[in-house]
Every structure is written in structure tokens, then in C-alpha cells.
Symmetry: D2
């Protein structure tokens, strides 16, 4: 007796790739991994050996395999688009880590292809939509518990970054999560965005700007502020407060044992995003596998990938120009 499972091929076996492979094999009951590819052959080989699965010679070869039902793309950012296009050619389901592409133009082409095929194939890795806290917030907003949302105050604080980090990444790799989760919470698109310079932290280990203060204004006039600390923070700490006409909602800290020792009440905070959001990743892939098996994608779409590209681009422009920047989007197709 065996379970029916989604057979996934994984392109990219770096840190997050390895985590997702373990997750698909040993946590997600409805999925497994059948083949992997990595730019560094020995990395792919070692993963393949560990799980007794296939290592492929190229991403293209992996995508073409008959036993690959769906493709997970966790390779470097600049290679996402090429693999997405290849998988679209085979009309296979795709889970692509953010960003979907480096340019909005490429995202538009992906959407054109999906529209031509007649259904969504792409899901983008905005994992926070699967976090139990954000979901409870969205549910409370929809239930009208705080009336109409008017503002959001949020913060995204990190302890450290991998070598090679740059100022732009504060937007494209860090605030990208707030770009997505905020419009998802509010069910609105942005009208204007801005980056404000802030007094700099001496704890920044490189030469990038840290912190930055990111501002969004939605089409209905809601204001969002996002404090982005990319380095040196006291913890990996995510804060989100939605302010409505009748009340506020706060994302809670993960539940930790409450201690009283040495004159203090205290509980631990998380030090890494992988721990803070581990449950959301599990849920993300469980729901993805289930939706692909039932042939109906519901997670973050190519449209969401497109919007986040446009907004990130305008934010970087705002930092350089010092101005508020307008958001202009193409028309949204029926299927999104």
C-alpha cells in the first residue's frame, strides 16, 4: 500500500533548496521529490544520494522527465525566469521562489503564456500568506472586526545577511515580503511608494543602507510604513499592526515558555526566518501539493509576482530619486 503523491523535480539545491527537498520528502504527505538539479553537479549528486533519487544533468532535462509532475525552482534569482519559461513550455506546474523574475516585463510574458494555456501553472513562494498569524489577521479584517483598515505599521528586522548583500536587496529580498503580504491583507493595489533614509545603525557589517523606512499608499489611501532592518537587530522579528476604524490587530510573537528569573519576566524571540516561519513553509507546500493534485492552483500567482516586481523597482527608484514614485500596472487578467 502506498500513497498517491505529487512527484516534484527540484532545480537548485542550496540552503533553502535542501530544506524544501527534506520538507517535500519527509513532511508533506502528498508530495515527494524524484529528481534534483544544481549548477554545482556534486551538490545535486550528494542530495540525490542521500535520498536515493535522480540527479539530472540540466534543469531542462529535469523539467522534461515524465516522472516529474511539477517543478520547484530555488536556484539563484537571475535564473528563475528561464526555468519558469521552460516549464511553461512543458505545461508543468511550477513553484518558483521569489522573485518570479528580475523584471516586470518577464512576468508579463509568463502571464501571457498562462493565459494562452488557459489556466494558472505558476505559484510564487510568498510563504507568509500561509502563516497562521497573518491568516487570522486577514480573517478578522474580512469579518469586519476592526472596521475599514486605514493604516499598517510593520517592521522586518534581521540579525544578519549573507556575504555580498547590497542596499537593493533590502527591497528585493527583504521588504518584498511586506510588499506582498500587505496588499494581500488589504486586498488592494498600491498607488504610490517611497523609501525614506534613516539614521544608520553602526551594527551594519557591510556598506549597505540600514535601516530603511519604506512607505506605501494604496489606491484607497491607506498608509503603510515598513521599518526594514537588514542587519544587527536583536532578533529575527516581524511585526505587523493593522489599524482600522474600530480597532487594531497585531501579529503575535510565536508562543514560547514564559520565564521569571533574575528580576525579569522574559521569553525568547526567534533568531532566523527559517524557524519563525517553518510552519508557514510546511503549510505552503502541503496546500500547493493538494491544489496541484486537484488541478486547481490557489496560492500566490504570476500576477502577484509581477506586482511585487513593479513595486520593488519603484521603491529602488524612490531611494535614488528621493521622490514618491507612482505605481502603474497592466490590466489584470480574468484568471488571477
Amino acid at each position: 500500500m502506498v500513497k498517491e503523491v505529487l512527484r516534484v523535480g527540484v532545480i537548485g539545491c542550496g540552503a533553502i533548496g535542501k530544506e524544501h527537498i527534506e520538507r517535500l520528502i519527509n513532511v508533506v504527505a502528498q508530495a515527494t521529490v524524484v529528481a534534483v538539479y544544481d549548477y554545482f553537479e556534486e551538490v545535486a549528486q550528494s542530495v540525490a544520494t542521500k535520498y536515493q533519487i535522480e540527479a539530472c544533468e540540466s534543469g531542462e532535462a529535469l523539467i522534461a522527465r515524465d516522472d516529474v509532475d511539477a517543478v520547484l525552482i530555488t536556484s539563484t534569482d537571475d535564473t528563475h525566469a528561464v526555468y519558469v519559461f521552460e516549464a511553461l513550455k512543458h505545461e508543468k506546474y511550477i513553484f518558483c521562489e521569489k522573485p518570479l523574475a528580475l523584471t516586470a516585463q518577464e512576468c508579463q510574458e509568463m502571464m501571457a503564456k498562462e493565459i494562452q494555456i488557459g489556466k494558472r501553472l505558476i505559484q510564487v513562494g510568498f510563504n507568509r500568506r500561509f502563516d497562521i498569524g497573518y491568516r487570522e489577521m486577514k480573517q478578522a479584517i474580512r469579518a469586519g472586526e476592526i472596521g475599514e483598515p486605514l493604516l499598517i505599521h510593520s517592521a522586518h528586522r534581521n540579525i544578519s545577511q549573507a556575504p555580498g548583500f547590497k542596499t537593493d536587496y533590502a527591497i528585493t529580498r527583504v521588504a518584498i515580503h511586506e510588499i506582498d503580504i500587505t496588499r494581500w491583507l488589504l486586498d488592494e493595489e498600491y498607488d504610490e511608494v517611497q523609501v525614506l533614509t534613516v539614521k544608520q545603525s553602526r551594527k551594519t557589517t557591510g556598506d549597505w543602507l540600514n535601516p530603511q523606512l519604506v512607505m506605501f499608499k494604496t489606491q484607497s489611501g491607506q498608509r503603510i510604513d515598513v521599518e526594514v532592518q537588514t542587519d544587527g537587530a536583536y532578533a529575527y522579528d516581524i511585526q505587523c499592526q493593522v489599524v482600522g476604524e474600530n480597532g487594531t490587530l497585531n501579529l503575535p510573537d510565536p508562543a514560547r515558555v514564559l520565564k521569571r528569573t533574575a528580576g525579569q519576566y522574559t521569553y525568547g524571540l526567534t533568531d532566523h526566518w527559517a524557524k519563525r516561519f517553518i510552519d508557514s513553509y510546511d503549510t505552503e507546500f502541503k496546500e500547493w501539493a493538494a491544489s496541484v493534485l486537484s488541478d486547481k492552483l490557489v496560492g500566490p500567482s504570476a500576477w502577484d509576482g509581477y506586482v511585487s516586481c513593479v513595486v520593488a523597482d519603484r521603491l529602488i527608484q524612490s531611494r535614488k530619486s528621493g521622490n514618491v514614485e507612482k505605481i502603474e500596472l497592466v490590466e489584470k487578467a480574468e484568471i488571477y
Copy 2:
């Protein structure tokens, strides 16, 4: 490509049985269910049809099947022992919901059989040991964060009970969890136990005693109080505070969105044990499947089942006698 999984046969398809079947099939990646049995044939049949698995004619037939690697027993309390003995005869791994048996004598016989076989086969369903909060507490105690533990204050509060609830069940089905988790946290056995009568709640829907105040004293003199509310409470709420020489540890509430509305700060509490401890059940079965597949059981043992039987028995006696009752245990075998 398929996953290697533990093939489980399930005896008992009631509410919790159904939940565990769903869990084993769709949540636990390393396990699945191949056969089910229930006293009510149509119940077993309907479950079997839903998952396209086998319904067996008897528990004995299910246990005997070659494709059943391990047996999960969630039938009525009075039938646990007979199925455990049957599975031991086949030297199959057993997961038995608490209580392991109705009498300490039967537990002793099970242990004798395990000792004869030369290894543990039985795991008892004390799910709280898999709860992330209790685990963090145990880790902090072991790390010496609060010095030597001296007292525990705990509460087990329920909103309602199924029809037919009796005063004894407050011990055997409710406080049974605190009987186990407290000795697990402290790594000590009890010396004396007592039940104290308390002013009764008018919200109790039947004629059983509610609340009751349960007291344990460990062999080293630690005192534990357990407030047991079986009916009418404001929520399903579990509280546990370990008091040590240098500090205290409190089990946290599950993380919920923090709201400010209508003049109040507020967050939601859980209304049912199945929601409060859902993660612990998932972890319990994931770890059980992994430990069985690696042929080395580590979860709550027949010894733990035995001790909880003895203690529950003495507590019920204390309620009747009005006295403090002594705990006397047989010698603990090497394998536990």
C-alpha cells in the same frame, strides 16, 4: 516513485480514531493506514471506502495481517488490554491511546511480555510530551534555568464533556494527562497523592463532582496542585507553572492575533483539546512512525501506562477515603 512508509492498522474508528486515520494518511509523511476495524462494521466500512483501504472483520484479523506493520488502538477503554495482548503475541508495534489498561495488574503483565520479548513494543498516547511548550519547559529545567524545581501549579479546564461522564473520569480521562506530564517534567515518581473537594460549580451539566483539586507529592518532596475543571469553563485552557529555586516557567497560550477593540485588549483562547494540541498529535505520530521504522521506540512506555494506572487508582481512592494515599510501584525494568 513512492515513499517508504509504516503501514498501520487501526482498531477503533470513533471520533479520535477518525482523526488519527486522517493524520496518518495525510499528515504523517512516513506512515499510512492499510486496514481498519470497528465494533460497528458500517463505521469501519465507511472509513475504508473513503480512503480505499481494507475493513477487517475483527481486531484479531487486522493484527494478523502481513501488511500491518503496527497497530493503533483507539477503541473503547475497556478493550485496550485485549488488543494490546493480541498484538504483543504477534510481536507487532503498538500505539495505544490512554489508558493502557483498566488495571495496573494488566499493565504489569504487558511489561512482563515486553521484557520476555526483549524490547519495547508499546507506546502510550500521552500526547502532551510532544507539545512544543512542555518540551521547552523540560529543556529549561534540564538546563538549570530555574534551579531545582520545588512546586508545580497547574490547571486543566474543560468547556464540556460527552454524555455519560462520571466523577471518576475527572481522574482517568482528564487529570491523567497531568499525572503523566508532571512526572515527565520532573523526572520523578510520586510518593503521595490526594483529591480535595472544592466548592462546586453550578455550570456542571451532570451530577459529577466539578471542580476537584488534585495534589501530588513526589519522592523528593515536590508539591503539585492540579485544578481540574471538567465542565463549564470559559475555554479549554491548560496551565502549568513550574516553580524552581531560581525562577518560574509558564506554559504559554497558543499564539493568537492580539486585538484592541471596544475598550479592551484581547486574544482568543482555544475551545477544544483537539485544536489546542493538534501540533502535539502530529508530532507524536511523526516521531512514533520514525522510531518504529528505525526499530527503536522512545515515546511513553508501558511503564508510563502502568504508573498512570496506579496513580489514578489511588486518587480515586483518596476522593472516597478523604485521606492522603501512598503510591507503591513495582520495580522498574531495565528496558524502560
Copy 3:
């Protein structure tokens, strides 16, 4: 232009005496201190010089002064009764720190004297009744917010004690506050009390028993547990949870700035009762001055002092006997 104020004479200029003198002079707008006495003449003299007031030769001389409207007794415990009787003789208002007397018999005689005079003159220093947290709890209970109260879980934890501390003091000087505040919260007298021995803390600096677990049962069957830590605790920490049929009430920690640093959420706890309850002391004396000026005492009475003597006595007896001890009280007079 001057304020009309209550002119207080203070007997006892030790640590708490000095604090109350400062409070009466510089915090309580409706009171002042006109004369002081202390067993150590130079202590009284130094206080008198500091505030430019009179130092008296004896407590009796102080009580007899025409410009002394009311007497505050903060001398050593064994001298309380003699000064109370002296002040009663002059029919002057009395504020006596707890205990009112060393024996219940003396308290009964004080009550007899008050009854003879026809009104209350004595207030006992149970300051917690003036704490904003306990008051909000009592108000919520009265408003029926948690239904009928059934249990109270409480803790009284101390960092250290003055030299000469003895096991009995854990009751007469520490748990004495819970003896009083609990019956005040519940508006009930106790039926039975008990002290349970507990595993001892190695942080105790002397040879007294620490901790102790104190249990009360009220006449209607409510159960109260009080964990008493007299030495070595992580903070001066007072906890009180009232459990009712419909909910629970918890005494809050004092509001402190919430910090997130070094991987932790944290806020400070208080290290001394004088800080923890400073507001309650201020309120206690403000209300006392106002009630004396209006010739109508409303604070803790000689009856409350009497009951606490009886209960403390039975608790000490219970510790020695190992038994539950019965509480027997004389009849309560009209004026209390």
C-alpha cells in the same frame, strides 16, 4: 493660607516608620506628623530634627498630647497591643501596623473596648486592600464577571529577609497578607487551614523552612493555595488568580517598559515590597486621613486583626501537627 490636616503622632521610627512619616508629611495632603517616639531616643530625635517636629519621651506621652489627633503604631510587634490599649483609653484614632496583637485574646479585648466606646477607632495596616489591582479584582468579582469564585491560586515570593527570621514569620509576617486579602476578596471566613511541607530551596540563607505551601478552605468550600517563598526568589513577586465558574482573574504585574534586546522579550519585576506596593501605602494613608477627618473609619478593622491572629495561630499549629486545623471565631459585633 494653610490646609486643614490630621495631626498624627508616630510611635516607632524604624525603616517602615520613617517611610510612613515621610509619606504623611510629604505625600498625604490631608495629614501631617506632629510628634514621634522611638525606643531609641536618638532615632526619634534625628527624625524630629529633620522635619522640625517634636520627639516625645514615651509612647504614652505622645498619645496624651493635645495636638495629636491620631496615633500611628509602627513599633516592634510585641509592643503594638500596649500602645493600642493606651490610645483607646484616650479614645484617639489608631493606625496599627499588622499584627494588631500577638494573641487573639488581646484583639478580643480591643474589640470589647471599641464596642464600649460605641465606634471603631482602630485600623490595621493591611495595605493590599488599597492596591489598585486587588481592588479591580474585587470589583470584578462583585460585578459577577466570573460567576461564583471557587478557588484562588496565589504566591508570595521574597528575595530575602532581615536577620533573625524564623519559620513562624513565614506565616505571621508574610502569609499574613494572603490571610487577610483572600477573605476580603471572597467576603468569607475560613473553615479549615493547613500548612504543607515542600521540598526545600537551597537558596534559603538561614535555617527556617522555605518554601511552605499554605492552604485555606472557606466556609462555603472555596479552596485557596498560597505558595510562600520567604527567601531566594527571583523577585518580590505577588501572584493571585481567582477562579470562578465563568472565568478567572489575575493580579497584573506593575506596568514596566517592554524591551526586546539580545533575542528576548523582557520587562523588569520589582525587587522589594516597598516598591511593589508604594501606591497602595499612599492610598491607604490618604483614605485613612480622610476617613478619620470625617469621623468614620472604613479600612481594615480590629475584627480583621483578630481573624488574622486566629488564622496565623492555627496555621503554625498545623505545621507542627501535620493536620488540617479548624478555625473557630467569636461572634462578630455589629460595628464591624
Copy 4:
């Protein structure tokens, strides 16, 4: 025996005036009120009768009295300056509720007068500097607990406003507190300020803008956002989070009894500023009386009143212009 007290004359017997009179007479041990004046003669007369003090014919007459050591000005905003100038003429100590004047020009003239006299006489009613929470925050910042402060996120939320409220008042009467407390916390002056329009709340009872988002940038580049809700909020709620290089500090909620009922954890929030900040008002006047009696003012000065005028003016300008506005200040004199 009487206390030596500061004899205060009060100009303005409206709601807040009455509160302060009661406070000076019955709460502040070192002060009392000897005379009052109000534009409405019968109001002053009724207050005078209640406390058996003098009602004066004019503010000028009150200021001139020999038995008036210091003047408290709580009349309407537009009359503050004239009474301050009159009291300066008599070289009497002045406590003036904010705003010190309607224009920065008048504040400058007051400072010129103080400099000429050679010492500070004016204290402005920025009560938050006396709040225990803000004080603990400032102390923690100074102690370096969070490193260098980089940002502040704050909110000032109100349930309702008196009739006649206007959009400008959101700055001059509401955000004025954040204008002051933020520069006090950071010990820095502002460089730029801005008001951002926000989606409007349908709960606003008049035609003023609500909410508004106020932004400050300090001279060292720290960014402060202040959400200003003037009407319709769920409570009177003040939030302040200082973000430093090493951690954050949050102003706590006032301590309230923690309740668990009906499926929720909950505690009450305050509905009015007079309750939320009652302790800070008490402390403010106690410290003012003490500092005046010792002839050395230390509270918020004419300089602080001046800066808040300049900043409020620039914020209103920003709302109208839609631009970031520069803050330009005169040189700060030695005595401030």
C-alpha cells in the same frame, strides 16, 4: 502644626482647571490654592465657595496678590500669553498649560524676559515627561540598553473630541504631546516635519481630517512616525516604540486585571486621557511645587513651549502644502 506649602493662584476654572485645583489642594502635599479667577464670574465663585478660597475680579488682580506665590494658567489657549506676560512682570513663577502661546514670536519674547530676569520662571504643561513609562524609557535609552535610537513608531488615539474641534487641533492639541515627548526622549531637535493624508475614518463625528500621519526627522536623521486618531478610536490609547541599534522599548499599557472569560483573554484599556495620565499630572505638580519652593525650576521650559509652537506651525503648513517642511529655530539660551 501646619505644612509649608506653595500658595497658587489659578486662572481658568474649566474642566482641567477644576481638576488641577482639586489636585493642588488635596493631592499635592506641598501646594495649595489660595485664589481663583475665571472669565465666567459665577464659575470662579462656585469653586471659591467649595474650597473656601478667594475668587478674584481679574487675572491681573489675582497675579498681583501678595499671598499668590505662583500662577497656574489653564484659561483658553488664546489668553495664555497675556497672563504669562503679566506674571513675568511680577516675577512670579508660572505653570502654563500648553500651548504656551499661539505664536512662536510671543514665546521668544517670553524667553527674552526670562533671560533679562536671569532665571526660568515658566513651566509648560507637558505632563507626559512625568509619566512613569516614558521616564523608564528615557532612562533605558540613556543607559544605552538599545544602543543609538534610530526610529520611533508612535500612536495617539482618541475616542472623541469636544464640539468645535478642527483639523488644526489634531496638531496643536493632540500631536503636540508627541512633538514634545519625542524630542525629550531623543534629546534632539527636529530638522524636517511632514503631515501625510490617510484614508479617512467614517467614525469621525465632524468634518475634520482623521486620521493624520505625522512624520518627524531629527537633526541626526532619526525618523518618527505618529499616527494621530482624533475621533472614533477603540480607546484612549498611547503607543510609543523606540527602535535602537540593539533593541526596542515599548511604552506599556497601564496595569489592569487580566481576565479569562467567554473564550478570551482580555484586559481593559483606558477611555480618557485624564485617567491614563492621572499619575503623571500628580507627579508633574508635586515636582513643580517642590522645584518652585526650592527656587529652581527643572520641568519643561519656555524653550520647549517655543519649539512646540514652531513645529506645530510647520506641520500645519505641511498639511496644506503637501510638502516636507524645514524646522528653523533661534539660538537656545544658556538658561534652558
